[in-house]
Structure formats: C-alpha cells, structure tokens
Assembly symmetry: C2
Homo-oligomer: 317 residues x 2
C-alpha cells in the first residue's frame, strides 16, 4: 500500500480545492494507494460530505495550525509544530506516509525537505524541477526552476544526474538526453558558469553517469527534439517558467487553445518535485485548483512507486 | 537628407532579400531618406531590374568581398577591407552615411561598432536590444539580448539608461518605465547580480537618470503593464528571445495566428539596434526576408531621425 500525504490546508483555495482534488484522484489511484489528509478535521469532513464521498476513503490526521504565505518559512516550520506541513513532514520522517504534497508555502516545504527528509548523501544542493509536455508529446524535465539562483558549476553538473534519474524513474524515459541550457549550440558559447558546467557534464557523461547531449537553446526546449532534461540555474529556469506562464495567460486572453499550450497549464504538470532529498516531496502552485491537486497527488504516487529516492541514493553513492 | 547604409550582401538570402527589402522600404521612406547599398554592383542592378525599380532610386557603393558567417569577425573585418561590412563602416565613420544596417555577421557588425563607431564616452559596455510589441500594443525594449553574458551590476545599471533613452527617442515613450528582470517582485529577490543592480538602479532613478519601477517577472514582460524597458544580462535576454522564437515556431506549426504573436515575428521587430556607440547601427536576423530588411531600414532611419546618438552622448556625459 502506497500512502500519499496531502496538506489539505495548503494553497490559496484550501481546504476546498485540496480536498476536492483528493476526491478527484481516487479513481486513478485505485486500491493500491491511500491518501492521508493533514488538516482541520471538521472542514475536511464537511467538504467530503458535500462531494458525496465517504470519509473512510481517506485517512485524516487532524492538525490545528497553518503556515501562512506571509510566515517566515523556517521560523513557522518549527514555531508551528501542529501545522499541517510540519505534521506532514513528521509523518514522512517516521515512515507513516511514503510521500508528501502541498500547495502551501514553498519555503516551508523546502525547510521540511532539508530538515526532515534531508539531502541525499553526495548531493550538494537539492533542487526543484518541472516536467512539461513538449510538442513531440514527450515530457521535458527542467531544473532548477527557482531554488538555487547562484549556482556553481558543480551544482549544475549534479542537476544533470538528478534530472536524468527523475526522467528515467518517474517519466519512464530510457537513457534520457540531458542538455545544458545555453545561448548557442557550440561548446564555446555561454557565460562563465555554463562553460565550466559544460566541461564537467562532458566528463560526467564520459563516466557513464548520464547521457549528456551538449547545449540546447531555449528555442528547442519545448520541441522535444533535443533534450529530455534541460539543466539551468534557478534564475534562468524560473524566468523560463514565468515567461511561459505569462504567454499561456496571454493565449488564454486571445482564445488560443490547443494541446501544446494545454500542456503548459500548471494544472497538468503535477506540481514541482523536490529532487535530491531522502523522501518524495511535491510542491504545488499556490493557486492550485482541484485538478492541479489531483495531478500533484498522482505525480507524488508515481515518484513513490518508481523508487526515485532509492535510485538517487544509489546513483550518488 | 538622411542616408541609411544597407549591407546588400548580408544575410542568408543576400543579395536578393536585402535588395528586395530596400525596394520595399522606398515607399515608406519618401524623399527625405536615401538608401545606400553596399555590395556587388552587377547582382544588385540585376535584382533592381527584375523588381522593375530604377537603379537611380539608390546609391550603390561597389564592394568586392563578403564576410562569411564562418569567418572570424575581428580578423575578417580587418582582413577583408573591401567587404560590404568594412566599407559600410568606413562610410559611417566618415559621415558619408548616417546609419548602417546588415543582416550579415553579427560578430563583424559588433567589431565595426566598437572599432569604428566606438563606445560613447562613459558607456562601459555597448549592448544590443530588441523592441517587441506587447499585448497592450506598446513596445517593450529588452536588453541585453546576447552580447554581454557575464555582466557586472554597473553594466546592468547602464542598460537602464541606454534602454530608457532608446525607448524615449526612437519609440517615443515619455518617461519610460524601466524594470529589472527578476524572479520575484520584491527587492530581496534574485541572484547576487540582480540584487546589486537593483540598488544601483534605485540610486540612478533617485538621481533622475531614468524612471526605475523595480523588478519585473518574466510573466509580465509582454503584457506591457509593468515596464517599457526590461533590463537583464545577455544570457537571460538571449534565452528569453530564443524561447519566444521557439514558441512562435510551434504556434506557426499549430496554426495559431493573432496580432500578439505576429508581433513576436522577427520580421516585424526591425532588427537589433546596437546601443551605446557613436553611430546608428542595426543588426538583422541572418535569415532576414525582404520584409525584415525593409523594417530594419525603417528602424535605422527612425533611430537616425530621433537623434539617438546625440541624446546618448548627452545623457552619459
């Protein structure tokens, strides 16, 4: 039995959107997976009832505090021990759940990831990634998407392996093509950071750690024809993501709708996995809808089932 | 009389696309502006004839060499003194033309910009920019878009002024809103480079050098609701541009067509102005079509007419 923990209090529209999303996930989860809800019991039961969903389809761990978006993440994580996020991580740390997902405070989720799940031995900097659908219909993993904004080359090099293991384990891509985001295809291109990273990734690839295919320009990220994993620092990755978000919104306003742009919808991506820690943790968009929560739960389940953490532990050993 | 120099040999489809573009520009240019073509006289005359355009509508400066895309820019610029780009810059330097445009080697165009036009006194690093149409219908200046990939904060701070003067002079935007591209709106956000730049731009703004409005996230670049000028380093700017280029191509393949995305078409943007030098220089996309060349000529004319160079010289004094 796989147990996915969900912060029922996380996100702008919690607990309603979170609980509804959990109900939506039930069908796809089947019998092999159970969702554990962390949050205020009464509102949760009320929403379940209004959804016509028997309460016994879920485990509920009652919590009495919520880490708000304005709270200082580290202080709140420790200062609100009965918060849904802190209690969720406590359950994750004790093995009572196999993964934890929340659309609440990203900062608090990262604090829990670092303090409770802790970095995998050998990983310099855990990171956050996204997996977006490409024109080719495959998915491309982009990392870092906003956590480490000043990255040494050694950190970027490790992203190649983190992204590769994720693509292989969770997305089922064999020998994922790992590329370094750059402003030209030639090895000589780029800033000091990516030039140094290029050399390290060439070596990592020659040592068989992953399949480095060289540089990828931003124009080819979403075609899917160059790379399955795109490595960049958190500043660049976050810029890419936000630019896409902005263009997606403009398209919505312009009435553009097709399968490619629908793949850009954050509701579809299943949240942001935290990579490089000893646990499966997924962070959702603050404005997560029930559909987004549903897909975040499924992505968390997929990561648990894939043995992602064990694979990372063995590849970084 | 304004004289715009055009490299008739520059670009993947030269001289045909270049000369055709020059012919297309005639109507919009009227009598106050004359295009000077630099290139092989015979092919130019042949193309003009096939376009049904009298040769005396242009001045032609015959050149006998071409700087190829594979050439080393600095070596070729000096080693091919009869090339269309080198001769063009020679004319620019001697005041025989008022501006120079080419869709040829970007590297050679930058060499000419630095060696012949030379940086404006006080400018640390000349740069290249683009002006893209926003959802609001205005245009947003983005700089740097690929030249200086490792920027000190002092360089980024100057971009604020370079972009501001361009937006004011050439695009006619009063008190252009200058923003720093960042991954959050708050001053505390970003990497070390942008944090340092933020402080400098705050000071520059308080001294009345430009109108700094703070950080802009990539999601708001193209809405036009936050900024008229977006400052970033060349790595980030080039990534933004290439990402848009890639999404534009995907949209084309998907049959998406509307005025917003049409504004992303490089053929419409009028090429890339080089900012911070003592001369008006525009660089076109290598694959420039006649329409792109036409708009590059008009953008060069606009920059000349606006007194851009004199304004920059006075603002950096």
């Amino acid at each position: 039995m796989i147990r996915v923990g969900l912060d029922a209090m996380g996100g702008d529209f919690a607990p309603k959107a979170a609980v509804k999303g959990a109900v939506m996930a039930l069908e796809a989860l089947g019998d092999e997976c159970r969702v554990v809800l962390f949050g205020d019991r009464e509102p949760i039961l009320h929403i379940l009832a209004s959804e016509g969903c028997p309460a016994d389809r879920f485990d509920i761990v009652a919590t009495s505090e919520v880490i708000e978006m304005g709270d200082h993440p580290a202080k709140a994580f420790q200062g609100k021990p009965s918060s849904s996020i802190t209690v969720g991580f406590d359950h994750l740390g004790r093995g009572l759940i196999d993964g934890f997902a929340s659309a609440g405070s990203t900062g608090a989720m990262m604090v829990g990831s670092m303090l409770v799940a802790k970095p995998v031995e050998g990983v310099l900097r855990p990171t956050i990634a996204t997996a977006v659908q490409t024109l080719a219909g495959s998915r491309v993993v982009i990392l870092d998407i906003g956590l480490n904004v000043d990255c040494r080359a050694e950190v970027l090099e490790q992203y190649a392996l983190l992204g590769s293991v994720y693509a292989e384990a969770v997305l089922g891509i064999e020998h994922p093509r790992v590329a370094l985001l750059n402003i030209g295809e030639e090895p000589s291109k780029g800033n000091a950071q990516v030039k140094a990273s290029y050399d390290l990734m060439l070596r990592g690839s020659s040592e068989g750690r992953y399949n480095f295919v060289g540089n990828v320009e931003a124009s080819h990220i979403f075609t899917g024809d160059v790379a399955d994993v795109v490595v960049c620092d958190g500043f660049t990755g976050n810029t890419i993501l936000k630019l896409c978000e902005g263009l997606y919104a403009i398209n919505l306003a312009k009435g553009v709708k097709n399968d490619f742009w629908e793949g850009m919808n954050y509701e579809r991506t299943g949240g942001t996995p935290v990579l490089g820690i000893n646990g499966v943790v997924t962070i959702g968009h603050g404005k997560s809808t029930p559909l987004a929560v549903r897909n975040m739960i499924l992505a968390t389940r997929d990561a648990i089932r894939s043995g992602l953490v064990e694979r990372l532990q063995s590849r970084f050993r």
